[in-house]
């Protein structure tokens, strides 16, 4: 009985939302309740320090850093053998990430890879999840005479292409640094390979390293921007309750994108530090034959 | 037909190739569920191999997407 009442109320709310939104407005022939959201690809500058523009996406990146530092500071302030709720959650997160990296890269390299990769995961995931908070699309500045906020104070950093690009460059640099650390100058033999078809493979290897940069950047940027647009448009069309489904979807997308960003970086790092095998064996055999 | 309109038709037709990828993804999912029903203890290997198959089926679908994108920019 109680279940039925809850379901009825939810259905009524969802229907009201649809009726109030752009769909219902178009059917009833009146103006929609929520104005059509404006889509900005470029972030808006909030204030300037010297010649340096502090944009809303940068502010949200700083906020994410603060929140993550505060969360981990609070959770690890009084470390107990039997952890409290926050400490248990953080331990679970760290164990999950460490287990993932150890699974891909092996025990030997997991400890070296862990700090930077876990940071990337936590930053990307928390940044995406915090962008679902209602303060993000509501708090901002209203120009003179405007009906509603057009310049937001905060905006998910992933929707600004600079953040994914910066993360991609960081991941690219660390992969190369780890590769050079593991093989010293012998790492260059990945790219410069002697002899016929191997030269071509070396060029492909070099090219694929730069394609990774592009791939990383546009995957994160595209997913985050598309997620934000989906939320805006669904809120415009359906007003309330129904967009909650899409909020759940975005919760999933944020975590999965962070996981993929970290996972691919581990894969590339593991492949950069891997002991020479496979095609290198052929190379040695060829060198021995000459 | 105008050249621009023909190009856009081509883009749409190229993106239709995603149907095959979608069907493949569905078949992989159903196959994995079948396997899981027959042998629930093997959920670890089944899941990980299912994702391997999913990733490559998805990659085939991406070819259609790439063709569509390149048609828009290049043709």
């Amino acid at each position: 009985m109680r279940k039925l009442v809850i379901m009825g109320v939810a259905a009524a709310l969802a229907l009201t939302g649809i009726a109030l939104g752009a769909v219902g407005a178009a059917m009833a022939g009146r103006d929609p309740f929520v104005p059509l959201p404006e889509v900005h690809i470029a972030p808006a500058a909030i204030f300037h320090i010297g010649g340096f523009a502090v944009t809303n996406s940068l502010l949200s990146a700083w906020l994410t850093c603060l929140v993550v530092v505060a969360l981990f500071g609070l959770g690890t302030r009084r470390m107990a053998l039997v952890p409290g709720r926050l400490q248990a959650f953080l331990e679970m997160l760290i164990e999950f990430l460490y287990g993932f990296i150890r699974n891909v890269a092996g025990e030997k390299y997991a400890r070296r890879f862990f700090p930077i990769l876990a940071t990337i995961f936590i930053f990307v995931a928390f940044n995406a999840w915090m962008a679902l908070l209602p303060i993000y699309p509501t708090v901002g500045f209203k120009p003179e005479g405007a009906e509603h906020v057009t310049t937001h104070l905060l905006r998910s950093a992933g929707t600004d292409i600079n953040m994914p690009l910066a993360l991609a460059i960081i991941s690219f640099l660390f992969v190369e640094i780890w590769g050079f650390k593991a093989h010293k100058l012998g790492y260059m033999r990945e790219f410069i390979r002697p002899g016929g078809i191997q030269t071509f493979v070396g060029i492909l290897e070099l090219l694929s390293h730069f394609i990774r940069l592009v791939s990383f950047t546009f995957r994160l940027f595209g997913n985050m921007l598309a997620g934000e647009l989906v939320l805006f448009m669904m809120t415009y069309l359906l007003v309330f309750l129904s967009p909650v489904v899409f909020y759940f979807l975005e919760l999933l997308v944020g975590g999965v994108q962070a996981l993929i960003f970290m996972g691919l970086t581990v894969v590339f790092a593991a492949s950069a530090v891997a002991e020479h095998g496979g095609h290198h064996d052929e190379e040695h055999a060829e060198a021995a034959a000459h | 037909m105008e050249a621009e309109a023909a190009k856009m038709f081509g883009v749409g037709l190229a993106a239709l190739g995603l149907i095959g990828s979608a069907l493949g993804l569905g078949m992989i999912g159903s196959g994995a569920m079948n396997a899981l029903g027959r042998n629930p203890e093997a959920s670890g290997p089944i899941g990980s191999n299912m994702i391997l198959a999913l990733a490559f089926t998805e990659a085939i679908g991406i070819y259609g997407l790439v063709t569509a994108i390149l048609l828009i920019f290049v043709a």
Binding site: G99, F100, N103, V104, L207, I211, I260, V267 | G44, V74
Partner: protein, 77 residues
Amino acid sequence: MTDRPWWVALGQLAGVGWFIATAIVASTLGGLWLDGQAGTRPLFLLVGLALGIATAFYGTYRMLRTFVESGGRGGSR
């Protein structure tokens, strides 16, 4: 075969499709840009397309190799 958890497989392989897409699109558009600079269309366009497809397959092969090699390491719990 392996006892790796499914999310590890997801993290390793979910990016393969997008990698293929960016490899082909980015190198073809790079070739198109070079053509615009040198006025040799469609020479670099085709070179870029061929290189892009080759890179896509090579990169996929590398990722798959890491996936297979990391198979025997066991689950995290």
